[in-house]
Subunit: 201 residues, 4 copies
Amino acid sequence: MEQTERKNEILAAAKDCFSRFGYEKTTLDDIGKIVGLNKASLYHYYKNKEAIFKELIYLQAEDFIVSLTSKMKTMPTCDEKIIFYLLSRFTYFKNTIDINKLSDESTQKFASLFRELILFFRTKEVSFLKTILDDHCRGNLSDGSDTGKIADMLITVSDGIKHKTLAESENCFMEKTDFPKIKAELEFIIPVILRGLKGPK
Amino acid sequence: MEQTERKNEILAAAKDCFSRFGYEKTTLDDIGKIVGLNKASLYHYYKNKEAIFKELIYLQAEDFIVSLTSKMKTMPTCDEKIIFYLLSRFTYFKNTIDINKLSDESTQKFASLFRELILFFRTKEVSFLKTILDDHCRGNLSDGSDTGKIADMLITVSDGIKHKTLAESENCFMEKTDFPKIKAELEFIIPVILRGLKGPK
Amino acid sequence: MEQTERKNEILAAAKDCFSRFGYEKTTLDDIGKIVGLNKASLYHYYKNKEAIFKELIYLQAEDFIVSLTSKMKTMPTCDEKIIFYLLSRFTYFKNTIDINKLSDESTQKFASLFRELILFFRTKEVSFLKTILDDHCRGNLSDGSDTGKIADMLITVSDGIKHKTLAESENCFMEKTDFPKIKAELEFIIPVILRGLKGPK
Amino acid sequence: MEQTERKNEILAAAKDCFSRFGYEKTTLDDIGKIVGLNKASLYHYYKNKEAIFKELIYLQAEDFIVSLTSKMKTMPTCDEKIIFYLLSRFTYFKNTIDINKLSDESTQKFASLFRELILFFRTKEVSFLKTILDDHCRGNLSDGSDTGKIADMLITVSDGIKHKTLAESENCFMEKTDFPKIKAELEFIIPVILRGLKGPK
DNA sequence: TATGAATGAGCATTCATTCAT
DNA sequence: GATGAATGAATGCTCATTCAT
């Protein structure tokens, strides 16, 4: 088996573990067991546990960007686009490491790495949403509306719902996320906000 | 030094550690070092690590409820009330253990305790906000508006902002929270939402 | 309360604990709790845990001797006397520290103290039984019978039954000892042995 | 060095420690020191302390059964057989963990495991002795003699002697057991008992 | 006398990391 | 490449003992 292939296997296993147990509680044995590799063998591919994590996060970020772009093309009207986009974030984070979640667990040690990554993610998302708002909704919004600010707020609201869902979930890992409910929440609040934005000051 | 005094010292130290490192990463040595006590001495005051944590959370919860009630009386109009309330949550959580934060780190072991507490907090907050909405805003909202649902959403949005702030903060622990910015965010979104609710369907 | 009185209370509590938990597993807190004294207070009466134990064993030995002597007077015929005596040992050890039991747990540290005590006990018992045999049974035994040897063997058999009972008991502490069964065992084997001794070589 | 070999080394070391110090007082450091392994390394071979102990006991039990069966074939007449068998028990227990000894130390925690094992051992031994009695002595015993009951009693007596020997031994651990003396004791009492059984009721 | 307070030493267990083969 | 083996450093927790009051 090839180097890269093995590394990908390790990353996949690590993603699984980190997203379920968190960074600290994930052991190299956990990862090794999934890949079918001895714990020690992991050190052939990565310098240490931290290195696995870093690589994972950065690859995931790239993947996320690609995913964003592809989803972009299939979205119709403004409200629906936004809701659809915010909803797909959940599906995405459900199956990947949610760094927002991990960041809370993080010790000082990783804090800077996390912050950097989280802000990188967020900036990407906000600018993406801003594109949508600029393209489809500008005409309908109050004068002087700052679409960047609105985009940022929409992500904020979406994250708020995510955290609430997480807190209510049985297993804390979004494994059995109640998507219909999330969708309903988004479908309730997004139009309210957009309508509020359009309304008279 | 008195029993209670020492216990409070320990609680204070524990609060500091738990809120900074999380439950798992906080060691009894960490706490002991702050209080100036041997690790073993902590067992003189508390049965075990978990007991310290539980006491801390419950005391904090009580304090929170009291704080809510007292703040209630000083709030004027609807929009301002809500913004003021949501803002004071930040001050509050800045100085206490944010269980929302800890919950994400939690293992299955404490998951139920956390979930219970988090939901307890949330329910309290939502019903409190609902009271405000019922008292001041009902007449202005669209017919059939579910104030409970709106209250829930307002807390969700507020939490979203909190998480965003946390992610952006230098130290991940809200130690130097940018309150003016948070206030600005709230003052932007809350009226938008309320206006959206009042507007025509 | 008087010194001696307190010391006796402590001894009583210690006896209870040691006989139930064994030396190692008995904590000074256990003893203190029973007496209603703080753990530290015990050090006013005894130098340390070991001192409590030693005093206890020696006092118990004296008590045992007295108990032996008093029981001596009430016993009728030879077989019955022996069985009665061997049976009363069980009642006795049930309510006191069975050093035979503790000795097995003992570390090198106490080994010599234990051995000394156990042998002291045994010697006393054997010589007591020998007295009975000499008084009542000599005429009936084969010529040249060594009553000392027989006495020793009877204690041995009795101890064998005790250990067997202990092993079978639910709680390892003889708390619910099946005395009728023990009595039946003794009533089966003692006559067999005595008959065997009387019979033709 | 091979896996199995190391595990055997560990078992040997553990046997040594457990039989000398008892289960509770034996530390993994003790065992590790003997094997020349770090305490943590023991966890490479066994899940935990309890697992070492259990494996040890069960292996010993198997060995014991085999030993019983092989010795069975070399035994001549009834009296001699019984004495020889009871004597070989001593040699056996001298070199293994005497669970009878450990059981007394045991806390509630292991009590059930111990009891189970002890009773298992005893049942095996009794039924083995019963076989001998049935084969060789039945004709000579009084009518209605319950060979099972007698077998049980013989083991009881043997254990009584074992405990007495233990108590008298220098080190409490049967390391320098006085076998000639034990043999003499058995050779004295066994015929007495068997003769008593044959005699007139 | 009595005790609350404090602690050192100890223990079972976990885990990231190293290294010889 | 792969791994079995080994370990140091932690961690939560226990307990006999000391000491100032």
